[in-house]
């Protein structure tokens, strides 16, 4: 099964409010997608749903979600733990795979090598985002969801993210990016899903 999700009628919402209505969607594990839509169109809801972070209600729906695929989501909300240091976070989120001798080049690339023993709570938003990108590069999930990719990242950070996405695409690993509008830097191999038009 190469599909991450195959839906004929997907209805998602919060409380009694439906956010995504009758969405027909087919997402392939190995392909890239760019979800666009206005505020409230359901971009984050869709990303959360795909990455198992959805806290709302699934209404009368007909869909098949591939539960065997490893999916990571990085977005506006932080995933790492404030009370731990960066190194401890890396160890926890990689289930002990993180080894400085092996992964030092990745940490150095994201310019975090001097902050490994610092508490994560003192990090700036940009450094937090970079930390998550390091973990994505180490863990290599089958599918990656990124909500508002340019948030918190500077020019160099965006360049690193683009490199990461190219590397993932070459390794036949899929990505899904959600943003309000199409971003020039990611438009090469991305299939566009416009939530304003297809609902």
């Amino acid at each position: 099964m190469n599909h991450l999700i195959s839906s004929k009628q997907l209805n998602l919402g919060y409380g009694n409010q439906i956010v995504i209505t009758n969405l027909n969607l087919e997402i392939d594990i190995a392909k890239n997608y760019f979800v666009i839509g206005k505020n409230g169109a359901g971009k984050s809801t869709l990303l959360n749903f795909l990455s198992n972070n959805f806290e709302g209600n699934i209404f009368n729906s007909n869909f098949e979600l591939n539960s065997k695929v490893s999916i990571l989501e990085t977005g506006v909300e932080q995933n790492l733990i404030n009370e731990l240091t960066l190194k401890e976070n890396f160890e926890f989120f990689t289930n002990g795979i993180f080894n400085l001798n092996i992964h030092n080049n990745i940490v150095e690339k994201y310019k975090l090598n001097h902050f490994l023993n610092d508490r994560y709570s003192i990090f700036s938003s940009g450094m937090k985002k970079r930390s998550e990108l390091v973990l994505i590069e180490i863990n290599e999930p089958d599918f990656l969801c990124i909500d508002e990719p340019l948030n918190f990242l500077d020019t160099e950070g965006v360049k690193l993210l683009k490199e990461l996405l190219i590397k993932r695409t070459n390794n036949k690993k899929g990505n899904l990016i959600a943003s309000q509008q199409l971003l020039d830097i990611f438009n090469d191999d991305f299939k566009v899903i416009n939530l304003d038009e297809i609902q």
Binding site: S51, N52, N53, E55, S70, I71, L72, E73, E77, N79, L80, I81, E83, L84, E88, E91, F92, F93, T94, N95, G96, E132, L135, N139, P141
Partner: protein, 211 residues
């Protein structure tokens, strides 16, 4: 039951670095132990029986403080688990273990300090006490995790109000063993506590497997 050592390490580190952790609650409760009996009887000599009842009462307060010491943010935990690719089942059992490891020594220290400060003893043999304390803590921790994870009572006060009667129930089972009211019935109460523990574990485990 699969145990994840990284969850265990994380929980211990957070507990140590958390400013509102039990390491601050413990001295507060212990100072209360000394003050309250003196205030209640308005004298410096207290009956031994009263101390034993107070010990259970403070254990109850201590357990409640432990339960509401840190708010569980389920949404945040869920995000963490998804990002770390750890299953909920794995998290629950590791969390249960870490909570017991955090709470068990503190309760033992609490009981030893109480006995030392009040010069009172518990009227049962030490082995029974040790097992009883462990089963009590296991029940407290698993009930607390159930309330925090599987119910929607996000307010600490509401949680405390709902959790307290359950804890009183456990205290009522262990009180005859500790007070030594009827030594011939100790084993019966002990079996009752063991049975309740199995029942409690099965009940919560059902929700864990269902999730």
């Amino acid at each position: 039951m699969k145990f994840n050592k990284y969850i265990f390490q994380k929980e211990l580190k957070i507990e140590l670095r958390n400013n509102i952790s039990l390491y601050l609650i413990t001295p507060t409760v212990i100072s209360l132990i000394i003050l309250l009996p003196l205030l209640s009887q308005n004298k410096f000599f207290i009956d031994n029986e009263l101390f034993l009842i107070l010990e259970l009462l403070f254990l109850l307060i201590f357990s409640t403080l432990f339960s509401i010491r840190r708010k569980f943010e389920i949404k945040k935990i869920k995000r963490e688990l998804n990002f770390a690719q750890i299953s909920f089942k794995n998290y629950f059992y590791s969390k249960l273990f870490s909570e017991i490891i955090i709470f068990f020594p503190q309760v033992l220290i609490f009981l030893i300090i109480f006995s030392a400060l009040t010069n009172s003893t518990i009227n049962t043999n030490i082995f029974i006490i040790f097992i009883t304390v462990f089963l009590y803590i296991f029940n407290i921790v698993i009930s607390n995790l159930y309330f925090q994870i599987f119910t929607n009572f996000s307010n600490s006060f509401v949680q405390m109000v709902l959790i307290l009667p359950i804890y009183i129930g456990f205290i009522m089972i262990i009180s005859p063993i500790w007070l030594g009211v009827a030594p011939q019935l100790t084993m019966i109460y002990f079996m009752l506590l063991t049975g309740t523990t199995f029942l409690n574990y099965s009940f919560v485990n059902y929700f864990v497997l269902k999730s």
